[in-house]
């Protein structure tokens, strides 16, 4: 019985669909056209009927409404933004200018349902405002505010025709959600891109291998060493030894406050690997904490050449290389 009812329902659907197609050519048909609301309104339960207006038409009406009330809605939005204290990093004029272009892009995305332009705009906007310290919650906040403002204006306009209001919201909300999603994702992606870029920059800057004299390199390490950075450091040092034909390397870790066991072991391995390349390593500036770590893991200090400070390290390196620094007065 159920099967028969379904079949009948399906047939009815098909019939209605054909009629609808004939009635309104070129209209986009989607699944969303069949809703229970319609079936209640038009036919008995279980029989679905094509809605009289397609979402695209509703959207067109909606967009026309938003265009008409552009000035007023935009003002209202800006007021709401200021009220909720979002975008405090920007001036009123800037907020107004941005709001205008966001509003227009928003309406355009609603109209065309093409999100590429909006995505590009969101990325561009993020690029401009991220350096000013605008947070993710602010960007999401303003888009949601706009959604709210627009929805309220729709309520105000269609409050007399409840069914129509429902249909308009059905058409509006998925599109608005998608827009909010697109903007938020665009912002977060841009932010992540900036972070990645900065991480790379820090990584490149953080491990300079410097030649102070012929065959003498120094490697000042500052900040936290994580295993990844330690690895990169070793690679750069070993490559530096080869290209500069270094015989002595001074690794200064004055700027490193603490070191975990993995990294300490890595440091010892770096010293060993440098020796295999024929270079002697002198480690300087060990903090008490690091000294404690090295003792705890039982590092063979015979292999590690350590000197208190960088100056002492360089002096010892010069001795190893056969240099002697004398003042001009002594030479006379």
């Amino acid at each position: 019985m159920v099967l028969v009812a379904n079949l009948q329902g399906a047939q009815a659907n098909r019939l209605h669909k054909v009629q609808a197609l004939q009635r309104k050519e070129n209209r986009f048909m989607s699944k969303r056209e069949f809703t229970s609301r319609d079936s209640e309104a038009r036919g008995g339960p279980g029989v679905e009927i094509v809605r009289s207006e397609a979402p695209s038409e509703l959207l067109r009406e909606l967009v026309a409404h938003l265009r008409q009330n552009r000035t007023q809605l935009r003002e209202e939005w800006v007021v709401r933004i200021t009220e909720t204290r979002l975008l405090t990093a920007m001036t009123k004029e800037e907020i107004f200018a941005e709001a205008t272009s966001v509003y227009d892009s928003y309406v355009e995305a609603l109209e065309t349902e093409a999100f590429e332009a909006l995505q590009a705009y969101a990325r561009n906007l993020s690029e401009r405002i991220i350096p000013r310290g605008v947070e993710t919650h602010e960007v999401v906040g303003i888009v949601l505010l706009l959604r709210d403002v627009l929805a309220r204006s729709l309520f105000a306009k269609y409050q007399t025709d409840f069914k129509k209001l429902n249909r308009i919201l059905d058409a509006y909300e998925p599109a608005a959600n998608r827009i909010a999603n697109t903007v938020a994702v665009g912002f977060v992606q841009e932010r992540e891109r900036v972070i990645r870029q900065q991480q790379e920059a820090i990584r490149e800057l953080s491990t300079p291998v410097l030649q102070v004299r012929e065959r003498l390199l120094i490697l000042p390490i500052i900040g936290v060493i994580d295993p990844q950075r330690a690895r990169q450091l070793t690679e750069q040092l070993l490559r530096g030894i080869r290209t500069n034909r270094a015989k002595v390397v001074v690794i200064d870790i004055t700027g490193v406050a603490a070191m975990d066991v993995t990294v300490a072991n890595h440091l010892v391995q770096t010293v060993e690997a440098s020796r295999l390349l024929g270079a002697t390593v002198i480690v300087t500036g060990l903090s008490p904490e690091i000294a404690q770590t090295l003792v705890t893991i039982g590092v063979d200090l015979g292999k590690m050449n350590t000197v208190g400070d960088l100056q002492g390290g360089i002096e010892q390196a010069e001795r190893l290389l056969g240099y002697k620094v004398v003042t001009l007065a002594e030479t006379r």
Partner: protein, 120 residues
């Protein structure tokens, strides 16, 4: 592939051309240990620049070569270990302890010359 052993003054030089089999390494060890006394050499340089992989057998053999040659009255220097190889070796615990190392052939020769002058 056999490793040629060249004589340069008081120094013997063995240059690895490519990855060597275990048998080649054994052969090299025998050759070097014999030649070093026969040719009255005071130093041996083993150049491993061409090796991009150093396994535990190769590393142990190098160490044995160095120790045997010391017992035969000469000095050994391993030269030309690539940076990547060096770090990989250290991570595997193959540190060639008590064996002298130098950056390249030139450095190795300089090291031996220095060593011949003051043999402390």
């Amino acid at each position: 592939m056999e490793v040629p052993i060249l004589k340069q003054g008081e120094v013997l030089i063995a240059t690895f051309q490519a990855a060597l089999s275990d048998a080649d390494l054994e052969h090299l060890r025998r050759g070097l240990v014999q030649q070093v006394v026969k040719l009255r050499s005071r130093g041996v340089i083993v150049d491993v620049t061409a090796m991009d992989v150093m396994d535990s057998f190769a590393s142990r053999t190098l160490r044995e070569i160095a120790h045997m040659i010391r017992l035969r009255g000469a000095e050994t220097v391993i030269v030309g270990i690539q940076p990547e190889v060096a770090f990989a070796m250290v991570q595997l615990g193959l540190t060639l302890e008590d064996v002298a190392t130098a950056l390249d052939l030139e450095e190795g020769l300089a090291y031996l010359t220095q060593k011949f002058k003051n043999p402390d």
